[in-house]
């Protein structure tokens, strides 16, 4: 591998968070996606929703300020904020399945050029962790993914067809990886933004399916 500097986790999360629109209801998956809530929107109101029954929760709690009865979907302590509301698990997934979530941001092992993705079982294992991902993926108005562009040993995670068992079919619209921002279109992957040190050819070489270059390709946007 090169010693070029790929995009870090928080920057990937920030880039996805920049896509959130004013008033959106946002559900963040476990792992990197939860970092999206660290991004501060100066002029937008974002409503964070977690599948364990809370709408409009506040930022991550710092040590000593935790409320032991308030966690996000990743089990991390978050703070209450004015206007928060709680509900039971069936009402929470009712909300999700009915399409009230504007975007869900999920981690993934693989995303295919047709928008399929896999995020619950790794190769050679029995069972896995589905959690709320299957419900969210078929229900949210937008499904965005944040993941490393390749596996640790350099295998492509953006692929022609998923090898791992699917989470949902044809739903992913946008992917932030440590190498760039990729849109999933009807004709496949389109590279919209790219990590500073990389060329499109380098990113294509690490991608398992054709990667169209957007006409206005630009450097990965990192507002903080």
């Amino acid at each position: 591998m090169t010693n070029k500097k790929p995009i870090d986790r928080q920057a990937m999360a920030n880039r996805i968070a920049m896509e959130f629109q004013d008033g959106w209801v946002v559900n963040l998956g476990i792992g990197i996606p939860t970092l999206c809530s660290n991004f501060v929107h100066p002029d937008k109101e974002i409503v964070y929703q977690a599948e364990n029954g809370v709408v409009n929760y506040g930022p991550m709690a710092v040590d000593g300020e935790e409320d032991l009865w308030l966690v996000n979907a990743g089990g991390q302590y978050v703070l209450p904020q004015p206007g928060m509301a709680t509900m039971d698990h069936s009402d929470s997934f009712a909300l999700i399945r009915a399409g009230y979530v504007d975007v869900t941001v999920l981690g993934a092992y693989e995303v295919a050029a047709n928008g399929d993705f896999a995020n619950w079982r790794v190769t050679g294992r029995k069972g896995g962790g589905i959690g709320g991902a299957m419900d969210l993926a078929v229900s949210a108005k937008n499904v965005y993914v944040i993941m490393d562009h390749t596996t640790r040993d350099g295998q492509a995670r953006l692929v022609e067809r998923c090898a791992l068992p699917l989470t949902a079919v044809g739903v992913v619209k946008l992917i932030a990886t440590n190498l760039g921002l990729i849109e999933v279109t009807l004709s496949g992957f389109v590279l919209k933004e790219i990590a500073p040190d990389y060329s499109p050819e380098e990113v294509q070489a690490l991608t398992g399916a054709p990667l169209a270059i957007a006409p206005g390709l630009r450097e990965f946007q990192v507002a903080s």
Partner: protein
């Protein structure tokens, strides 16, 4: 008034037979019925069918959760949204037994789990959800198209017992949960034949809870035990 208040956790779980199906509330930490789990472990019931979001060991591993029953081989089967941790590097006690074929699992989307429990407590014989369409979850299930979109038929998931952790209760068993402690509690209380509740706070008198602020009406609650003030961190989860 029927007295639903038990003095000890051991008495509250004494009659649970081998082979019982038991729902366990809780998501990550909040709502986990740690004292009831510990009591059932002492009681010794085997071949339990556990219905729970996870098969235990989620978060702080010093705290009692379903993994205590799993590791002591009291659980024959788990119906859950997870059989493995979210990060492949973290191995749950359950996962090792499961991969070794020593325990059974029914894995499903979390919303489907919640809705199947809700259906059992709502007299609904089946429902159609889009979660899992086109995935392994659809294997063996009826796929049906409504208005141009495919859905799976899912069936209710009832249980003999529900173990629930709530915040406050009155003497009739009207329950309130605090924040995300609520999660599966209200739907499990409705779906189980016998609902057993551990409580953060001492019982109040009926009339002390606003009728509009009751989360689980007392008609769904059979037994209650207040967590003693001197309970250990392992079962109380308070610092």
């Amino acid at each position: 008034m029927r007295n639903k208040l038990f003095d000890t956790f051991d008495e509250a779980v004494a009659d649970i037979p081998d082979g019982a199906s038991i729902m366990f509330s809780g998501f990550a930490g909040p709502g986990t019925p740690r004292n009831l789990i510990a009591a059932l472990h002492r009681q010794g019931a085997k071949e339990i069918h556990a219905i729970s979001n996870t098969p235990g060991r989620w978060g702080d591993s010093s705290l009692v959760d379903l993994s205590l029953l799993v590791q002591s081989r009291r659980v024959a089967k788990v119906s859950a949204a997870f059989t493995a941790a979210t990060h492949p590097s973290a191995k749950l006690p359950f996962t090792e037994l499961y991969e070794a074929g020593e325990i059974d699992a029914e894995l499903m989307p979390q919303g489907t789990l919640a809705e199947r429990i809700r259906a059992a407590g709502a007299g609904i014989a089946g429902f159609y959800t889009a979660a899992g369409v086109g995935t392994e979850i659809a294997d063996g299930k009826e796929v049906r198209n409504f208005d141009g979109r495919d859905y799976l038929l899912e069936l209710p998931l009832p249980a003999d017992y529900a173990f629930i952790h709530a915040h406050t209760a009155d003497d009739l068993g009207n329950l309130q949960y605090r924040l995300t402690q609520r999660n599966f509690g209200p739907i499990m209380a409705r779906a189980a034949k016998v609902t057993i509740v551990e409580l953060d706070e001492p019982i109040v008198l009926s009339g002390d809870i606003d009728p509009d602020a009751v989360h689980t009406p007392g008609i769904f609650v059979d037994r209650m035990i207040v967590i003693p003030a001197d309970a250990t961190k392992e079962v109380k989860n308070q610092r």
